[in-house]
């Protein structure tokens, strides 16, 4: 299997680190509210595509930009990165917070997104199916709620978090706070989802404790043509728990 190679760019003054593997048309994976869980799962798509996993500003190995306060700032950032990488059209995969980001990018630039795959995306508001508030929920509770079978996550996390690991998470939580502290939802985001016109797949675990699976009907209402796949016995990080979910995305992207 082709392995990820680290690359570093500067986008509008912000250090942007990405991991890329394979060749062919680009697939860009937009990660969620943390980077500790890793992205090796996406390497298997590299046999057919150029798979690119950037770290958003304020996350992982990328630099900070404290001026980023809403999702549109990230859309602008990725326009800048795509320009540097020479990417015209793209297949987007978004996970959780990155799912909101991918869907927003797709609604604003629907002529540039060929296919859209969303894994348990954030951003949908339904008062009957409120997501876990990851800002006020203690970090260890959030981590414990990410998957149904914790074994798949345990090996990716330190046995005993040291101060550097804690500081890295605090930094990512700070980035999320800039984005979501006052406005964890954006009604305009949902309104503009009608502009998501490309083929769309939405994947969900039926045991998701962060973004409950009960949110899927609302997604279906906003993106009627979306192919929604629910995986039994999986939590929020479906892609870590269910190899068939990763395979389904791979087949969908072709």
């Amino acid at each position: 299997m082709t392995r990820f190679v680290r690359e570093e760019y500067t986008v509008d003054g912000v250090k942007t680190v990405l991991h890329a593997a394979g060749s062919g048309e680009p697939v860009v994976v937009l990660h969620g509210a943390g980077t500790a869980d890793g992205f090796d799962f996406a390497e298997q798509w590299a046999d057919r595509f150029r798979v690119i996993v950037p770290h958003h500003p304020g996350f992982g190995f990328s630099g900070d930009d404290p001026t980023f306060t809403d999702m549109h700032d990230y859309v602008m950032h990725y326009l800048g990165l795509f320009e540097i990488l020479g990417i015209d059209t793209v297949r987007l995969v978004g996970i959780s917070l990155g799912g909101w980001m991918a869907a927003q990018f797709a609604s604003e630039h629907n002529n540039r997104v060929k296919k859209l795959a969303l894994i348990a995306p954030a951003g949908m508001y339904d008062p009957n199916h409120m997501p876990m508030d990851i800002i006020s929920t203690p970090g260890e509770v959030v981590v414990g709620s990410l998957v149904s079978n914790f074994d798949v996550l345990q090996s990716k996390l330190p046995a005993k978090p040291d101060i550097h690991f804690i500081a890295d998470r605090y930094r990512e939580a700070t980035t999320v706070a800039r984005l979501w502290w006052e406005h964890p939802f954006d009604p305009k985001f949902m309104r503009h989802l009608k502009r998501v016109t490309m083929p769309t797949m939405i994947l969900w675990g039926d045991e998701d404790k962060l973004t409950p699976v009960g949110l899927t009907p609302m997604w279906q209402r906003h993106i009627p043509h979306a192919d929604i796949r629910v995986f039994k016995g999986a939590g929020h990080l479906v892609h870590l728990e269910k190899p068939e979910a990763v395979a389904a995305i791979g087949a969908f992207l072709v």
């Binding site: 500081a167 939580a173 502290w181």
Partner: protein
């Protein structure tokens, strides 16, 4: 030339009727259920505390200090200006210090107005301080901790502009737009009441105080660090062309006076213990919401563990902080020594903690005013 020492009586107005099972809660802040609050008991407490603060004035304390906290038993002063307004018409000599309202939780013009009202009502006896607000307050108010410091600085700029410049003026900033900044009334004191920054000694707050020529009221800062901090403040203020006067560096102390050392400890320590263990009990998550502190500060705090919020050993706490407990002579000597080391002539004394009953509080206030203050009055640090 020596200047007199100044003595404040500082109060938190805690809600003292904790439920029996309160230890089951990790924190008595933020999400500690307010169903435990009984307004009948609250009413009695307000009456009692106001009486004690007025007694402090009568006994000759130079100032009464109040401040703001939210969602907690630690303090019943979610809006300290209301408490100050209740006190102002009744105070005979004491200044009223609101130290203070975090500007981030108020519209800046409104805070400038409320302080001006208190200053005019008290005929220029108001002093104010500007805290960023503890981490807990950000969980309790709809204000982003990740942008708190930036917003705080903009608020200060607006408040000072409202006080110093003849209105109407304008302000076009990141967080606020004022087309007509023109608050009535304006402060009695010109250009404005004495101002302090409140902080725990972070580099960011030191710089703000130094640059603006404000005083600095440090809270929960250990002894050695306080001496260093005051030196830093003097140096940084000088860098900006200001002189940090001794009276601008109030020293936060916890004081209890009784007839003998043994009696003082017997009467006081249990309440101090409850203050740290129960009333100030919080969690790391509440203390440091995302973005509230820098990563450097996060690492410093983690390395030092938290000695304040939970976990109590009287000897350790007494060595770490400015806690003077004992006979009038001992307390006077202790405070005098600390004032000289800290280069201050301004003692900000917490005279009541946790569930200390009325009788002990009256005794503490009285003995302090009658036996400690006269011993120290003439020992002020040379100006």
């Amino acid at each position: 030339m020596s200047a007199d020492l100044r003595f404040n009586a500082m109060y938190f107005l805690p809600y003292v009727h904790l439920p029996k099972n309160h230890k089951q809660f990790k924190s008595t802040w933020v999400d500690f259920p307010n169903s435990f609050y009984d307004p009948e008991k609250g009413h009695k407490l307000y009456k009692r505390y106001l009486k004690e603060l007025l007694l402090a004035d009568k006994l000759g304390f130079d100032a009464i200090v109040v401040n703001e906290h939210h969602n907690t038993v630690y303090s019943m002063m979610a809006t300290p200006n209301i408490i100050a307004a209740a006190l102002v018409p009744q105070l005979r000599n004491a200044k009223i210090c609101v130290w203070g309202v975090p500007p981030n939780f108020m519209l800046p013009n409104r805070l400038a107005e409320e302080y001006a009202i208190l200053d005019v009502m008290s005929k220029g006896r108001l002093e104010v301080a500007f805290p960023l607000g503890t981490g807990m307050e950000y969980w309790s108010n709809p204000v982003n901790p990740a942008t708190a410091r930036e917003k705080f600085k903009e608020s200060l700029k607006i408040i000072l502009q409202a006080w110093k410049e003849d209105g109407p003026t304008t302000h076009y900033g990141k967080y606020y737009t004022y087309r007509f900044l023109n608050p009535w009334p304006r402060p009695y004191q010109k250009p404005h009441p004495p101002c302090y920054i409140v902080g725990t000694g972070s580099p960011e707050t030191i710089e703000i105080a130094a640059e603006l020529g404000f005083g600095y009221s440090s809270v929960f800062v250990p002894q050695e660090r306080t001496y260093e901090l005051n030196e830093q403040l003097r140096q940084r203020a000088a860098h900006f062309g200001h002189t940090m006067r001794p009276d601008q560096l109030p020293l936060l102390t916890y004081v209890y006076v009784a007839e003998t050392q043994e009696q003082a400890e017997k009467e006081y320590v249990i309440h101090l213990q409850r203050f740290f263990e129960d009333y100030a009990r919080s969690t790391q998550q509440w203390l440091a919401p995302p973005g509230y502190i820098s990563l450097e500060q996060l690492k410093v705090r983690a390395a030092g563990a938290d000695k304040l919020h939970g976990g109590f050993d009287f000897n350790n706490v007494s060595k770490s902080f400015f806690i003077a407990v004992g006979t009038p002579e001992k307390v006077a000597n202790q405070l005098g020594e600390w004032a000289i080391k800290a280069g201050t002539n301004h003692l900000n004394n917490v005279m009541h903690v946790a569930d200390m009953p009325h009788s002990k509080t009256v005794k503490n206030l009285t003995l302090f005013a009658e036996e400690v203050m006269p011993r120290l009055r003439s020992k002020g640090v040379a100006q």
